[in-house]
Amino acid sequence: MISLFKRKKPKADAVSKGIAVKQKRYEALVYTLHADLFRYAFWLCHNRQIAEDLVQETFLRAWKALDSLKDEHAAKAWLITILRRENARRFERKQFDLVDLDDQQVPDKHSPGPEQDMENELLRRHISELALEYREPLLLQVIGGFSGEEIADILNLNKNTVMTRLFRARNQLKEALDHDNTIRGRSNG
């Protein structure tokens, strides 16, 4: 009779151990990748709240599908892919808000001075104005740190196309900033 109250361990333990392992994996992904994912999301939708929602959705799906992630090294690309899909769903649901770029007050903690502040602000605006097809490869390269091959994989493009788009993105931004500086240079005398 007393033995009735001894907890039988084996089966319950295996299940809870499995969950604990999954939990640890998930935790690691959250803490190492949430920042990059948030930034990427922000640059996709220009809105901090929407970006946060996108990241939540992304990680929720990641949790559900975590068993399908076989290699931790592939985690960032995997999460970005999920994020991009979630963002696409937004447009299917017509959830995009017309964002007034002037409203986007993004506090800049790295500003070395008002001059750089200004330049930073201008650059941010230009990045937002980049066409998505040029913006995404650039974000993946700069924020994600992905190689040309990896970007091609994520965006489902061939590598040459990716390199061309990266060229165009930077080119446009450089020209835009140079143009701004020229104007400001003139007005500053």
């Binding site: 109250f5 907890r7 949790w63 993004v106 790295h110 650059l123 990045i127 040309g148 930077r170 931004l173």
Partner: protein
Amino acid sequence: MDELEFRRRVYADPNDMHPDFLSASTHAANRQFLDEMKNFNHKLEQAMNVPVPKNLPDNLMLPQRLAQPEHREGPGWRYLAIAASIAFALGFSTRFIPLPADSPPAIGQVAIQHVEAEMPFTRYVDEQVTLTAVNVKLAPYGAHLNDMQQLGKIYFVNHCMFAGGPAAHLVIAGEHERINLFLVPMDRPLKMESRFAAQGLQGEVVSMQSYRLVVVTGMQENLEQVTATVKASLERAI
């Protein structure tokens, strides 16, 4: 590679590590351009580096914690199972508590209700009951029939439920309607009455050695005579 190609490569990726790119970057003009672009790229990095909401990681962890099943269940269910078993056993045992005989049913009422209920069956049944068959059914009650002469035709004999316990039930021929007989064990909790009548039926109760004989007939029947005859048939057997 030529200068144009190099510039394209720089725009595409200032941090290109391919050997051909690296060797091209050693040339003076290329070097300067590369430094400029690296500088610019640094500005891009800064611009893209928007601050992340502080509570975001915690918010991402929270739903998973809620979704996680509790694995420290404890032996809870076992205690509940034991409690349920005990409750059941207690509940079941009340079945055997002898209730105070505040009102055992009247024997006549039980008999009449029984006859009424089975009337559609007993009115027409004819199982051609033999002497042997009768005695088999009577035996548990300590009764016995020597012959069927006095009793006459027996249409039916079997055990039945009578006030919560078994009794012998016989259906025999009467002068008018059929007669129902019950042999009810002595210990059955019943309110005694020697005569009763209701719903167009009448009856008499006789205490025999180990049972009570209940005779139920229609109103037209000579109840006294029937009872005497039946009693005599059963009494002669010892």
